[in-house]
Structures are given as C-alpha cells and as structure tokens.
Subunit: 110 residues, 2 copies
DNA sequence: AATCTTTATCGTAATATTGCAATCTCAATA
DNA sequence: TATTGAGATTGCAATATTACGATAAAGATT
C-alpha cells in the first residue's frame, strides 16, 4: 500500500525513522554536508552546489525542514538555512547508544 | 520519476543515504532495537514481535540485509539474524563527526 | 512602476515503497 | 516418504517519492 503503519510502533522508533528517512537520499546528505562545511549558513546557493533543478532542491530542503534537521530564516528575499543541532544530537546519541551496547555484547553470534 | 540520481553524488554521501534509508521505517528501527535487546541474536520470532505479517517482515529484513545493517546465518531451517556492527559504526562515526563540527561552530546563525 | 532575483508551489510523469495473501522452498520430523 | 514449520518469493493494490517545467510570490533593484 505504501502506507507506513506508524501507529503500531513506539514514538521513539517513529522519531528515529523520520529523521533517518530524511537523510535517506544523497541530495539531502549533501545538503547537510554543505551546511556543515560552509562556515556561515550560506543560503540558497545550495542549488548551485547540487546537480538538481531548483524545484527539486527546494523540495529536499522542505523535507529536511519538516523532519527538523534544518531551520530556515528569511532574510530579505533570500533564505538562510542551517542545521538544527537538536535533531542531529538525537541521531548522534541514538547511534552512540547502539555502539555502546554492541561493544558490551562483543558478538556472541554470526 | 522516483529515481534517485545517485551518480551525481559522492560515494560517501550515497553510502550514508543508503544506510539512513534502511532505517527510515519504524519497523526496521524496531528490528534493530529488538536485535540489540535480545542477548543472543534470536531468529525469526522477530515476526512475532512486530505488528506486521510475515512476508512484510521478511521484506524489511531483506532491506536491512541489503543495506548491510544486519547479517543472517542459516541454522537448520531457521535463520539467525544479527546486527552488522560495521554498518552501525559507520553511522555512529558519521554523526559523531557532525556533532563535533557543530560544537566547534557554536551556532553563529539562525 | 517595471524588472530582476530568489525561493516556493503546482502539476505531472516515472518509479519506488509498503503491505499482504498466496504460494514456494527446503530442512526437520513423524 | 508424507507432513510440518520456518522463511522467502511472487504478484498485486494503494500510496509515496523523485524530478522537473511552468508558474507564483515577494523583496530588491533599476
């Protein structure tokens, strides 16, 4: 059906899935990379950095914003996008936690 | 079109996107959670843990396996799935790196 | 005011994803 | 060898995603 049965999973699982899904496209990973690389959160020249048309980039930015991974501030007629640390912290601690658990376990299988 | 233009992004970006995409569904997050929680890498009772039909779970397992997040060992007529540490380490270091960079930056914007 | 620039939105085509019933495979057991 | 049981695969319907041309909205510039 293409519909995810979110109601049957925990909030935390859904939250991680939403964030991960937002990063589940190379263009969106590239956008995050770029925002990290540029020191100030330079604006819509993201379009020039990516091999995609402007509407497509705009759509990807929207998805990153919806997922909470980036924020956008209007400045005149441009928009200043930047990383939302909160969301990335959530992902970081999720994976750090997993790594810690895996270290303890020391592969008793497979 | 629904086709991702992977050829225009770096290998690293594609690799992260592939891993993230695999975790972009709560059922797959739940599977990882379960595999972590269970001490031995208990097999196909994953199906009983999830609110989804067996073919659907099988499909999600396949996607996790394709992405390299889990491994499966055949044992008689059951299969022992478990987490592939390598992939999760990649994700962990990716996000740790981002967090480190963000800490240095200390939000000079937005 | 007319135009330019930047970004968002709409509409649409192509493809991918999600979910499941029905089946298939194959080892284990009777 | 017939049956059972665990998983995978197939086939399909419903929906989501990706991409882009065309256009809209709105501040900046002339």
């Amino acid at each position: 059906m293409g519909v995810t049965k979110t109601e049957n999973f925990t909030d935390k699982q859904n939250a991680i899935a939403t964030l991960a899904k937002a990063l589940g496209h190379p263009a969106r990973v590239a956008i995050i990379d770029y925002l990290l690389q540029v020191d100030a959160c330079i604006c819509g020249d993201i379009v020039n950095e990516l091999p995609l048309a402007q509407p497509t980039v705009s759509q990807h930015l929207k998805e990153l914003k919806n997922a909470g991974l980036i924020k956008g501030n209007i400045e005149g007629n441009t928009i200043c996008y930047c990383i939302d640390e909160h969301a990335l912290d959530k992902l970081q601690s999720y994976f750090a936690n997993i790594s810690a658990k895996l270290d303890k376990k020391k592969q008793n299988c497979c």
